[in-house]
Amino acid sequence: MINTFEERDVAVEKRFIHKEKDIREDIAWAQINKDVLKSLERPRMLFWVIFIASLALFMVGVSCEIYQYQTGMGVANLDNPHVWGLYIGTFIFWIGMSHSGTLLSAILHIMHADWRKPIYRFAEAMTTFSLMTAGLFVMVHLGRVWQFYYVVAYPNERWTWPNFQSPLVWDATAIFTYLTSSMIFLYIGMIPDLAICRDNATGFRKSFYTFLSLGWMGTDRQWANFRVTYLTVACFLIPLAVSVHSIVATDFAVSQQPGWHITSFPPYFVAGALYSGCAAIITLFIVLRYVFRFEEYMTMPILEKTAKLTFAIAMVWTYLNLVEYSSTWYGDDMYAKQALIYRATGDFAPYWWMMNFLGSVVPFTLAFKRIRNNIPAMLVISILLNVGMWLERWMIVSPTFANGIYPWTWDHDQWPSLVQWGIVAGSFGWFNMLFMLFCKIFPSVSMYEVKEMVYHRSLVRKGTEDATQINPELAVEGGIAS
């Protein structure tokens, strides 16, 4: 029973002392280098299994694309009114996935959430590779790939009449900006670690890392400039990420199709993006933790925090989803209402209900600590959440085209062909392949940031130890002072 302010302070401090730690504070800095650099040498066998399976999946996608390119879009079963199909649904999914890196690197960096430090690097890599994957779908769905440059904003001396009012041009510009900025952000943040790789590598690798580390020596001047640059680029990335997915939402909202005109569409897209990004972080967290033996760095408390964050974002997404349904239901757009009814009762109903179940009900399992601390359960849940989020994107696109404003669209149910499914599967292979290659070539845990985390936490621990010596009440059985 706490009766006084002093007792409350003691209780709070005790809780702090005995809190499960995100990372051990006594890990030697040299050990951090050694552990992370080991991941560039010999990963577990599962790494190669995933890599080869991803490569095989990617080849399936490439074969399907070659077939579609040579034969025409008919083989994808895409025809009016179904002009987007799985391609644009999956495009939005990958764009959404890219928000994970921005969330962990930029938003949590500005909020001084230092638990992000061991896991933000791979999340940034996810951002880059998922944007590269998303960009491919823009070209794949065009059919006439060679006319891709029509969407790129450039002066019109060639009389190609780019339409700057088109959200497709906005999309191309936003994605290009986001992709290049994310790559720069990833690279700049990695320079001190590349210098560590340089100092420990031999042969060809040494030349490679020497070239990339640009002669970094960790001088005060370099660190001071680095600090300002990293923070500034992080500040740019947050509004950029929001603008990218808002623009993707605008691709839909400015069209004539029913069901895409709710005011909350852009924030709904952004919330969905953060949600799927967080779920993917959990999946890859678990995979990397095992494959590269990162148990010391990708710890259970960090996984738990990521799970809590995912749960919170899942609830935001659920709320915005309900806003969309209720706005449509109580609104005066009969076509939008009809489209909603069609989603819930028409040909796509099983997938629509599954999307709602996986996206809004399954995350409630994350409310239980026992589940959050169970790695196999978290792996399954995170995959299910991403299946739900992929279905969400598909359910935004296809049911609307199957139930447009004009009656002639109502009897054109075109199930995606194997070519479409093959290219979608290939995109997952492409992403996994690039991601695994990245983790094999570059340090997927930020060594210098983990050192900072260990250093600052050890200072806090030292301060708390001093406090316990002054106030012995803080020292309890099993605690640091006993």
Binding site: Q165, W170, T177, T180, I184, D199, G215, G218, V228, Y448
Partner: protein, 175 residues
């Protein structure tokens, strides 16, 4: 007077900062605190402050890049649209402000980021050739203090570093 370099390695920040503090207060002839460079595996703003004000100009590059991107972007888009004067616009404005703002915003960020990074490279003097006294342990777990001073001041500086438990002292001649 000829100048030479010396690198002292420390195991912790406290000893390194004490050494810098004493070096600063020593007023040794032939030595200037501006010629001290701290090398560390992590950033440590508190010790950097001990070395005196060493301004960072990255933010000015950012400001320039963002303004250039925004204004240049809008000029690029609107001038491109303005060449469409002969094309019928159906009563719509030749330069529509709301949609152009989207692209202007993206280019504002794009150039803001690019020029910031350019500022970083210039400010941090990257890419650069590593100093001959660079020691790989600095990227691992040790803190290095690189000092440039007159040859006559070197023995006193070395003595000061030894007193502060420098793990190793490397001079230009010893490497």
């Amino acid at each position: 007077m000829s100048k030479s370099h010396m690198l002292a390695l420390f195991t912790d920040f406290d000893e390194a900062s004490n050494a810098i503090r004493e070096l600063k207060a020593s007023n040794l002839e032939g030595f200037n605190i501006k010629d001290v460079t701290l090398k560390s595996p992590i950033e440590h703003p508190e010790i950097e402050e001990l070395l005196g004000k060493r301004p960072v100009y990255v933010q000015f590059f950012t400001l320039f890049g963002a303004i250039f991107g925004g204004l240049g972007g809008f000029t690029f888009i609107s001038s491109s649209q303005a060449t469409f004067l002969l094309q019928p616009k159906g009563g719509k404005p030749v330069i529509p402000i709301p949609p152009d703002m989207v692209l202007t915003y993206e280019l504002f960020i794009l150039f803001g980021v690019y020029i910031t990074v350019l500022g970083f490279f210039i400010g941090a003097k990257l890419p650069m050739k590593r100093h001959k006294l660079y020691n790989a342990r600095v990227s691992e777990d040790q803190i290095g203090i690189l000092i440039k001073a007159d040859d006559t001041a070197m023995p006193a500086i070395k003595d000061l570093m030894t007193r502060h438990k420098a793990l190793e002292i490397i001079g230009e001649g010893s490497k």
